[in-house]
């Protein structure tokens, strides 16, 4: 039996329906958390001195936008960390694994179900940020936001970071035996991208096009390998019986 997108779609639709009715995911993870992440960059945008030099302004806007990249890095981590161990704890994993679904199909369905709302939220928040810049920021700041590489970097890094966060979360979820431990570990595993953002904020690392391209290449490779790596770690026997023979 070959790879089936019908089975992937069945998992995806089920997950999206489940999120839709899950108040914690809808209210906290997908609404409040992103709003928290937009607060700081918006404040920086609106309080930036218009008379500052263009390089200083550019750096400040760059750092503001890096905050927004925390949304795809952090928001999906708790949801993806729940994806396998959560199903196991609520007793729904065994009925799913009894069907002809392959591990790869199950994992792709789970990942898509996290990445789609994450991208919708992240790009919506970015759109809100751009709208605030266009409507309320000083013209000098506004042109600095819309000029240069800020927007392409944001557009490219959002799915790449989300992919990293999701595969790490699912990998931890597939090997964990407790939901809370999985979610905490998943947040910890997402510290590297957060650390890079912080180091840029403190100017230990200077943001540059070269650095951005390098990071994007690394993330792209990790995302591409993530699916296969997590599928290889997905041990049905351990997940069902709790032990390995």
């Amino acid at each position: 039996m070959s790879f089936s997108w019908t089975r992937v779609r069945a998992i995806l639709v089920k997950e999206l329906n489940d999120y839709r009715r899950n108040r914690f995911v809808m209210v906290f993870t997908m609404t409040l958390l992103p709003l928290i992440f937009i607060a700081a960059p918006t404040l920086q945008l609106l309080t930036a001195p218009a008379a500052a030099s263009s390089s200083k302004l550019d750096a400040r806007i760059g750092i503001s936008l890096l905050y927004l990249l925390l949304i795809p890095a952090i928001v999906p981590s708790t949801v993806s960390a729940y994806s396998v161990i959560g199903e196991r704890e609520q007793g729904t994993l065994e009925p799913i694994l009894i069907t002809p679904i392959r591990s790869e199909e199950f994992l792709i369905g789970k990942a898509l179900a996290v990445v789609i709302p994450t991208l919708v939220v992240a790009y919506t928040i970015f759109g809100v940020f751009l709208a605030i810049a266009a409507l309320f920021a000083h013209p000098g700041i506004k042109s600095a936001v819309f000029a240069g590489s800020h927007i392409p970097i944001q557009v490219v890094f959002t799915p790449l970071l989300a992919g990293w966060s999701i595969w790490v979360g699912i990998a931890i979820s597939a090997r964990s035996s407790d939901v809370r431990a999985a979610q905490q570990l998943s947040v910890l595993a997402n510290l590297p991208p957060v650390a890079i953002v912080a180091l840029m904020g403190f100017k230990v690392i200077t943001p540059s096009i070269g650095l951005a391209v390098g990071l994007a290449a690394v993330l792209l490779a990790l995302d591409a390998l993530g699916w296969r790596a997590v599928a290889a770690m997905f041990d049905r026997e351990r997940l069902i019986a709790g032990v390995r023979s």
Partner: protein, 324 residues
């Protein structure tokens, strides 16, 4: 004596062939050297105490766990990891816990599984499955709002969605009240009448006796396989139970040398239990002898050991062996 279920359908190739199957988790043996066959259209009861290896056997045959040794053919496909998706497409397992998505409606739950089996005519299949479990009017209710019995029915509807060649039911009435358990029994009876091959694990002996063509008793190793009446005959001598008013003065003189009677003992309930080779021959002779001895007969009946007697006898033997 015949099982109340009747004969299984005529034999063609078996739906399940299990040969010397063993599953170990490290040093712990879940089940050992298990062999049996289940015919198409047969309802096969798999009995055993808690921890006997019933659920692990089901999970192994359902390709969720890899056997340590031995072989099996499930729905005509050899059991192997590579054949896992193909086997799982042809069977269905209803686990002990329904495992429903409680925030989703009944219909959404079933639709998800219809997609996982890549079924066609999903609305038609959903309607047939829900009609079979009498839940058509609850299709749009969230599963979280259903009682435990109704959730079990949804799980059963989910299990028959793909018209499985073999349907594994793992303790389907576990934790249900008598009314809900009765409903599930009725559903299993209707599946049996439709010719669905059912592998039913349970430790409810009345359930197995009522629903199954044949039963197997597992206690890590396979202890017995057969029709309930065959198992009774294999473990217990045929017997007549006699109750008379008062007691016989010389029971030896009454029962000895009667045709078909091999011996007798006084039963704890005050009557007599006669070991017989053929109840049809022995019963008239016993009646004549009792009347001849001037006894007032209150009852004369064939002694019927239940499946529970068989089960307890075997489990007691296992406990005794372990003690030694």
């Amino acid at each position: 004596m015949r099982s109340e279920v009747g004969d299984p359908p005529p034999e063609r190739e078996p739906a399940l062939i299990v040969e010397h199957l063993t599953k170990r988790f490290g040093d712990r043996v879940a089940f050992d050297d298990v062999s049996f066959e289940v015919g198409y259209g047969e309802v096969f009861g798999f009995l055993g105490p808690n921890g006997a290896g019933k659920t692990t056997t089901v999970r192994t045959l359902g390709t969720l766990l890899a056997p340590t040794s031995g072989s099996a053919t499930v729905a005509g496909i050899p059991l192997s990891a590579a054949n896992g998706p193909a086997i799982r497409a042809r069977i269905s397992i209803m686990p002990e816990s329904p495992g429903l998505y409680l925030r989703l409606t009944v219909s959404e739950n079933l639709r998800c599984f219809a997609g996982l089996y890549e079924l066609d005519d999903i609305p038609g299949r959903l309607e047939r499955a829900l009609r079979a479990v009498n839940l058509l009017d609850r299709a749009n209710d969230p599963c979280g709002s259903l009682s435990k019995g109704l959730r079990q029915r949804v799980a059963l509807a989910r299990a028959v969605l793909n018209d499985p060649a073999v349907l594994f039911l793992d303790e389907p009435t576990s934790g249900l009240d008598p009314v809900a358990a009765h409903d599930v029994h009725e559903l299993i009876v209707s599946l049996r009448e439709r010719g669905v091959t059912i592998f039913l694990t349970t430790h409810r002996l009345d359930e197995a006796e009522r629903l199954c063509h044949r039963v197997a008793i597992l206690n890590t190793t396979m202890r017995l396989v057969g029709r309930p009446d065959e198992l009774r005959e294999r473990l217990f001598n045929q017997a007549l139970e006699v109750r008379v008013k008062g007691s016989l003065e010389q029971p030896d003189a009454v029962f000895d040398d009667l045709p078909g009677v091999n011996g007798w003992v006084a039963s704890p309930s005050g009557g007599y239990e006669l070991a017989v080779s053929d109840p049809d021959v022995a019963a008239p002779a016993v009646a004549r002898a009792l009347v001849g001895a001037g006894a007032d007969i209150l009852s004369l009946a064939e002694s019927r050991h239940s499946l529970e007697d068989v089960y307890l006898q075997l489990i007691d033997e296992d406990v005794e062996v372990k003690r030694r």
